[in-house]
Amino acid sequence: MDFEDTPELAAFRREARAWLDANAERRTDNLHMGMEGEAAHLEGKAWYKKKADAGFACLTWPKEYGGAGLTSLHDVVWAQEVQNYRTRDAQFVIGIGNCGPAIMHFAPEETRRELLPRMASAEDVWCQLFSEPSAGSDVAGLRTRAERDGDNWKLNGQKIWTSGALYSDFGVVLTRTDPTVSKYKGLTLFMIDMRQPGVEVRPIKQMDGGQHFNEVFFHDAVVPDHYRLGEVGGGWTGALTVLMSERLAISGVQPTGFPQFLDMVRSLELNGEPVANDPIVRDRLATWYSQYAGLQSANKRMITAVAKGGIAGAEASLGKLVGAVMNQEIANFCCQLFGQAGIIQEAQFSPQRAHFQDSVLFSPGVRLAGGTDEVMRNIIAEQVLGLPQEPRADKGMAFKDIPTGPS
């Protein structure tokens, strides 16, 4: 057990730091970059292109797919270094983190060489089209149909909550190809070109006022058969790969609210007294730090296991569950701490440029996206601890016979 870099990693760290110094601005706070929508999208694309040109994109991917052919430990070093700079490094995590691994695993070689390098440099941006109005936690209950049409497939139906769909060039889409078998067996996974007439994207306004996610409608949208990921009827396996990769990808970048909280505690005075002297603040600081530090170290353990050739298990759900809850609790605590002015959501009047007020309104979504808190607990209980499954009302039924609510 040690904290040391190997000589190779130390050299990589120096190289990364030198490049970042030359190409990015150092951070002075832990606040988000501001700017939303198209401007943020374009700035993110420019950053990824720059990274890719310098060989720092998708470090663990093979070179022929646009990566750097390095190890997950290089990835960790990069993450440790890049967090000190103002970059949009995690902007396209859905495509690169979630979809990329499934494509690498299931797509034909030619398609991989065609699409992955463009994903790595963010020339193409990707989204993940799983959830539907009638299928979220129970995503295998989805209804979007894919039907064979010669060498192509034709898609009809609706997705919802698709993050970033408006700016996406491609998506990974889970569809139903056979409603007469059980729900997990009749699914097929595809890649889809989002820039076609049969795909219609409508932004949804979120409770915090933002518009990250969208509804996506398919009207005879066309997917060539070589964009299929895995077997016909084998979509659930592919979907699980995407979902597991998602948990792993977000476990490193999951917002916890802790760095901002610490910055606030270090710098803010209220009523002429540093808040750092408030015993309640100190108690919360210690509790949240022990969780935050635990997540960081748990992540290091997971990476150690991966570096030794193991696989990251359902334990990755830990970061999602703990981080999302902590994020909301910290935001709420801070708004209370600030007194009656805690409800003011304006950068000039609110500490940390209104980060905590923004988080009060955004954090509920973090507890839902990528699997809800409850679903994370089910996964831990059943897949990690081996507790018996819930009795299910749809077990053994053909998909078409499964009861649904009024809709």
């Binding site: 057990m1 904290f3 870099d5 210690a286 022990s290 635990g294 830990l318 831990i380 209980a381 507790l387």
Partner: protein, 366 residues
């Protein structure tokens, strides 16, 4: 960066687990819990024979010269087995202090005997309700004062005692507990599987540890190291308690199905797992900092301690809940973990105190 124990260390852990599952059954724990003995002598002797008391001591003084990481994995297993022996007092506290700050003569006298289990030592610091104010005092080599609770205070041969010198500075002293000026009285605590006593020193003889200026900073460092090791004991206890709850609820049926299939129970175990994994990760980080003597050991140790204490309390109480009425009986082992969780989150300082350390150290860090 490498965040896992080595093959050799994991092997030691496995051997320790096998040994303790044979030699430290719940009956052994209960034989101390249910009677007036302060610790289980046959088990202690076997532990000594295995060399665990000698592990982290230098070879020059009869030790095995291994590192803290080996001690961490053993601590985890002792915690898992709820071992009713004075290991933490004698090894993490007394031996560590003498090894680090003792004079040459003190090291030569004490360390080989501690390694061989001939002497049991402990730390006597708390003086009753409240925080860590110390009223005990030393003039020349005469000590007066009362300490309680002292872990293993009834069975230890000597204690490392905190007291004020004539300048009012806190210093560490070695006090023979078998001398006439020392009166000891057994205390009943929340965890009778580990002996505790009060110690009254009336004009007893004390010897300064080391050169006589070993004081508050040394004490803090000693407690930081012990905090990491005790976090591993807590971790082991968490694992055992949770495993017992899982096994029980899988077998126990209600409403025609295993209790473990009810979501309220499953989510409880998921939350226990979360607490356990956070505690484990923090303990590993603490072990790493301890083994490399890293500058952030104080923060890492306090974090490991807070995290493990929170986890053990949560897991041991919810484990009783998951067992239903059986969990509330003397016969079931649930209360053994619950009691030990209470003890471990109070000895060497409470959760509350260690949370203050986390806050202070975090805010001091650059």
């Amino acid at each position: 960066m490498n965040f896992e124990f080595s093959e050799d260390q994991l092997f030691i852990r496995e051997q320790a687990r096998n040994f303790l599952s044979q030699e430290c059954s719940a009956d052994v724990v209960r034989s101390v819990l249910d009677t007036d003995v302060a610790y289980h002598e046959p088990l202690w002797q076997k532990i000594v024979d295995l060399g665990w008391t000698a592990m982290a001591l230098p070879e020059a003084h009869g030790g095995l010269g291994l590192g803290y990481l080996e001690l961490c994995v053993v601590a985890q297993e002792l915690g898992r087995a709820l071992a009713p022996v004075p290991f933490s007092s004698s090894v993490y506290l007394a031996s560590e202090a003498i090894k680090t700050w003792g004079s040459q003569a003190q090291q030569e006298h004490y360390l080989p005997r501690l390694a061989a289990g001939e002497l049991i030592g402990t730390l006597a610091h708390s003086e009753g309700l409240g925080a860590d104010a110390v009223a005990s005092s030393v003039t020349g080599d005469v000590i007066n004062g009362t300490k309680l609770p002292v872990p293993d205070g009834g069975s230890a041969h000597f204690a490392l005692v905190t007291a004020n010198d004539t300048d009012g500075e806190l210093c560490l002293y070695l006090v023979d507990l078998q001398q006439d000026g020392v009166h000891r009285q057994t205390l009943q605590t929340l965890d009778p599987s580990r002996g505790h006593a009060s110690i009254t020193m009336h004009n007893a003889t004390a010897q300064a540890l080391g050169n006589g200026s070993v004081g508050a900073p040394a004490l803090a460092e000693l407690l930081d190291r012990a905090a990491v090791l005790l976090a591993f004991e807590q971790l082991g206890g968490c694992e055992a308690a949770m495993e017992s709850g899982i096994a029980y609820t899988k077998e126990r049926y209600a409403f025609g199905r295993p209790v473990a299939s009810f979501q309220a129970i499953k989510h409880k175990f998921a939350d226990m797992f979360v607490a356990l994994e956070l505690a484990r990760a923090n303990a590993y980080y603490g072990a790493c900092a301890l083994a490399c003597d890293a500058p952030d050991l104080p923060l890492a140790a306090a974090t490991a301690r807070v995290s493990a204490g929170d986890a053990y309390y949560y897991i041991s109480k919810e484990n009783i809940q998951a067992h239903g009425g059986m969990g509330f009986t003397w016969e079931f082992d649930c209360h053994l973990y619950y009691r030990r969780a209470q003890l471990l989150s109070s000895t060497i300082g409470t959760q509350h105190q260690w949370k203050q350390h986390v806050a202070t150290r975090l805010l001091q860090a650059a």
